[in-house]
């Protein structure tokens, strides 16, 4: 079967779309935020590959055409950013300082903990972009020489955790301002966080969407510097 699958360029492509559709269906039926479609799709495909003993390379013969769209789609993030320019202009200082503080906190925690756990530098590099939206994170990790699948794993996990804990954290720490709540969701948990932010309110949703892109952009500037100082020996 491996031989046949290596000759067809459709297998990886088709299985990805079919399983993704299935996971969207499950998500819509259950409405549980833990059942993130990307997470569910990944788990099912990994299980299929392991059960049928198909290696990743064979899967990727067809699947790589899907990855191809990642860059043009990220370019499209310019559109939501443009649409939110008014909100950005109005609160520019509060927004930028909150996001910047989050990015610095993220880099600090990751550098400290990777050193405490004595992990290798390549893993540290791969984790630096974990709070930003996956397309930017993948591009950044590739540029910095990290392992992109570790980054994707960390990005998804951040999203799931951020989306789940946001309401509790806001309550415990008395973060009541709508703008601040939205920014906190988007900066820590990108698109997943935005789903939670939208449940909290319209302003939170818009702010979270804005934070995703701004966090991504600023991280592209800060992560290489942090990487250069701490993870390149």
């Amino acid at each position: 079967m491996q031989d046949f699958l290596q000759q067809t360029s459709y297998f990886g492509f088709v299985i990805t779309i079919v399983i993704y559709y299935l996971s969207l269906y499950i998500k819509n039926k259950t409405k549980l935020s833990i059942l993130n479609p990307l997470l569910v799709t990944t788990i099912i495909i990994v299980a299929i590959l392991l059960v049928f003993n198909i290696n990743y390379e064979t899967y990727n013969i067809g699947a790589k055409y899907i990855s191809y769209f990642l860059t043009p789609t990220t370019v499209c993030l310019a559109i939501p950013l443009y649409k939110q320019i008014k909100i950005l202009k109005k609160n520019v200082i509060g927004i930028l300082s909150g996001i910047l503080a989050g990015i610095i906190a993220n880099a600090t925690v990751i550098v400290l903990l990777t050193k405490i756990f004595k992990m290798n530098n390549e893993l540290g590099t791969s984790l630096l972009s974990k709070s930003i939206t996956a397309p930017i994170a993948i591009g950044l990790t590739d540029e910095l020489g990290g392992i992109s699948s570790i980054t994707v794993f960390a990005v998804i996990l951040s999203g799931i955790i951020g989306a789940a804990i946001a309401p509790t954290i806001f309550k415990l720490l008395h973060i009541k301002d709508e703008t601040a709540q939205g920014l906190a969701c988007g900066t820590s948990a990108h698109g997943s966080g935005t789903t939670t932010a939208l449940e909290l309110g319209e302003i939170q949703g818009a702010m979270s969407g804005l934070a995703i892109i701004v966090t991504g952009l600023i991280t592209t500037i800060i992560a290489p510097i942090v990487n250069h100082i701490f993870f390149i020996v």
Binding site: P37, L70, V75, I93, G98, L157, A184
Partner: protein
């Protein structure tokens, strides 16, 4: 025709990003160059919103599927870095919580401060 034109614009900006990524020796992803230039083009009205909007919104709405191949790549990485998986999970949990708290508190503080100032000015 409309969609061909929209896709063309998006791909041209991606290509511009690719060119810049090759000439400029900075670790900035192709997509960021493309995105920033498209954003500037929108601001300066070289490109109008309705010239890209429909196709862009479509691509963004199905965006998650484009990460699946990279995400499935965990299958190879997992076995190569098995012993590091637990620390990675711990780091991700702790840092996500800290980032959320930091951004939330800092932006709330500054927004409150500015609101007070504005009220004081009146």
């Amino acid at each position: 025709m409309k969609y061909v034109k929209q896709l063309m614009i998006i791909l041209i900006f991606s290509f511009i990003g690719d060119i810049l990524n090759h000439i400029i020796p900075l670790p900035i992803p192709v997509s960021i160059y493309g995105m920033v230039f498209l954003f500037i083009a929108l601001l300066t009205r070289i490109i109008k919103l309705d010239q890209v909007e429909t196709t862009a919104e479509f691509l963004l709405s199905i965006m998650l599927i484009f990460f699946v191949p990279a995400s499935v790549g965990i299958i190879d990485t997992f076995f190569a870095y098995k012993s590091s998986m637990l620390p990675i999970i711990i780091i991700v949990i702790i840092s996500t919580i800290i980032v959320m708290i930091t951004t939330g508190l800092v932006s709330q503080f500054i927004i409150k401060l500015r609101n007070k100032k504005e009220r004081g000015a009146k």
